[in-house]
C-alpha cells in the first residue's frame, strides 16, 4: 500500500517535471524566434536607409548633417552587441529617420516623387513591424521570466540553466496620422 503511494507520488512528480521542462524549452524557443523576427526587421531598415538618403539627397543635398547622423547611427547599430546596446543604437536611427522625413516634408517635389513615396511606405511598414516584433518578443520574455522565477518551476529552471532574458526597450515611432503644418 505504502509502496503504491510512493510510486504514485514519484510518477506525478516526474510528469510535472517533464511538462514544465518542455514548457520552458518551448518558451525559450519562442523568445529566440521573437528575437530573430526583430533582427529581420531591423536589417530591413538598415537596407532601406542608404536608398532613402540617396533619394532625399537628390532634392536636398545641403542637409548633410541629417544624413551623417543617420549613417553614423546605422553603422553603430549594425555593430551593436547585446539587447541594451542594440536598443540604444536603434533609438538613434528612429530619431534620425524622423528628422529626415521632417526635412523631406519641406520639399514638395520630393514629396511627390514616386520612388520616395514607395520608400516611405516601406519605412513606415518596417517600423511598425519592428514595433510588432518587439511586442511579441517582450510578451514571450515576460512569460519565460515569470515561469523561471516562480516556485516550483524555478528549481527546474536552475537545474536546466534557464536564464531570464532582457526586454527589448526601444522608442515607438509615433502612431496615428502625421501632423502636417500648413
Amino acid at each position: 500500500m505504502v509502496i503504491w503511494i510512493v510510486v504514485g507520488v514519484v510518477v506525478v512528480l516526474l510528469l510535472w517535471a517533464v511538462l514544465t521542462y518542455n514548457r520552458l524549452v518551448a518558451l525559450r524557443n519562442r523568445v529566440e524566434n521573437g528575437w530573430s523576427q526583430i533582427d529581420v526587421q531591423l536589417r530591413r531598415r538598415y537596407d532601406l536607409i542608404p536608398n532613402l538618403i540617396e533619394t532625399v539627397k537628390g532634392y536636398a543635398a545641403h542637409e548633410r548633417e541629417v544624413f551623417e547622423t543617420i549613417t553614423q547611427a546605422r553603422t553603430q547599430a549594425m555593430g551593436a552587441t547585446g539587447v541594451q546596446d542594440q536598443a540604444h543604437a536603434e533609438n538613434e536611427i528612429t530619431a534620425g529617420l524622423g528628422r529626415l522625413i521632417a526635412v523631406a516634408e519641406r520639399y514638395p517635389d520630393l514629396k511627390a516623387n514616386q520612388n520616395f513615396l514607395a520608400l516611405q511606405e516601406e519605412l513606415i511598414g518596417t517600423e511598425s513591424k519592428i514595433a510588432y516584433s518587439r511586442q511579441f518578443y517582450n510578451d514571450q520574455v515576460a512569460r519565460l521570466n515569470t515561469l523561471i522565477q516562480k516556485f516550483p518551476a524555478n528549481v527546474l529552471a536552475r537545474l536546466g540553466h534557464f536564464e531570464p532574458k532582457a526586454f527589448f526597450d526601444i522608442d515607438e515611432p509615433v502612431r496615428g496620422p502625421v501632423q502636417v503644418d500648413l
Binding site: Q41, A118, E121, E122, Y132, S133, Q135, F136, R175, G176
Partner: protein
Amino acid sequence: MYEQIAANKRKTIFLLFVSFVLLAAVGYAIGLIYGTGWVGLGIAVAVALLLQIGAYFSGDKLVLRSARARAVTSEDEPRLHNIVEGLAIAAGVPKPAVYVVPEQAPNAFATGRDPEHSSVAVTQGLLDSMDRVELEGVLGHEMAHVLDRDILYGTIVATVIGAIVLISEFFLRSWWWGGFGGRRSDRGRGNGGGAELIVFAIGFALLILAPIFGQLIRLAVSRNREYLADAQGAMLTRYPPGLISALKKIAGAPHAMRSANNATAHLWFDQPSRIQGSRTGRMERLFSTHPPIEQRIRRLEEM
C-alpha cells in the same frame, strides 16, 4: 483564448454532425416525395460526406471565390501587405494570404481552417477610404478571428449551410412548380389516399424546416464573437482608436454589396446589405449576424 479555440472545434464537430443528419433527412424527404424511397437517403449521405470533406479542406477557396476576391502581391498593395505581415508577427503566426474584393462598400473578412491555412480579404472600398491606423484596426479584428479559429467554424457554416439551403430551395421550388417529378401527381390522383398525403406533409415540412434550421445554426455564430474579436484585435494593435475610427467611417458608408449573400454574411467585418442605399433591410436586421456598429464603438471606447 485556448478555451475559445476548443469551443470552436467542439462547435465545428457538432455542426458537421447536425448538418449530416439534416442532409440525410432532406434526402429522405426528397426520396419520399419522388417515390424513390431509400435512394434519396443514400445519395444524400454521399453528398453530405463529400460536402463536409470539401468544406473542411477547400471551404476557404469557395468563400473567396463567391466574394470574387483576387489575390494581390506586395507590389500591388504594399501598405496592405505590410500591415498584415506586421499583425502576423505580433500574433506569432504565419502571414495569411492577402485578397482584395472589388466592392465599394468598406468591409473585410477572414477565412481558412487554422492560422497555417488562412486568408484575409478586404474590399477595394476599405482600401480607398481608410488610413493606415484604421486599416490596421480592421485587420487586427480579422487576425483575432484567425487566432481563435472563428474562421474554421465560420467557413464551414458558410459552405455547409449554404449548400443545404441551396439544395432544399432547389427541390422546394421544383416541387412547388411541378417542374419535375411528374410521377407524383399521377399517383396522387390515382389513390387519393391518406397515407400519400401524410408522406407529402412530412416531406414538405422537412424541406421547409431545413433552411430555417440552417439559419438558426448560423445565428449560433454568436454576435458576441464580434465584440471579442474587436477587443482582441485592439489588443494586438495596442491602438483601439484606430478600430473605433474605422467603425465610425463604416457606419457612415454605403453597405450594399453585390456579392453579399446569406451564406457568408457572418464572415464579414460588418454585415453586408443587399439593399441599395439603406443601412440594413428589416429582414436582415431580424436575422442579423452582427451587433449594431454603435454598440461596438461604445464597447471599444470603454476599454
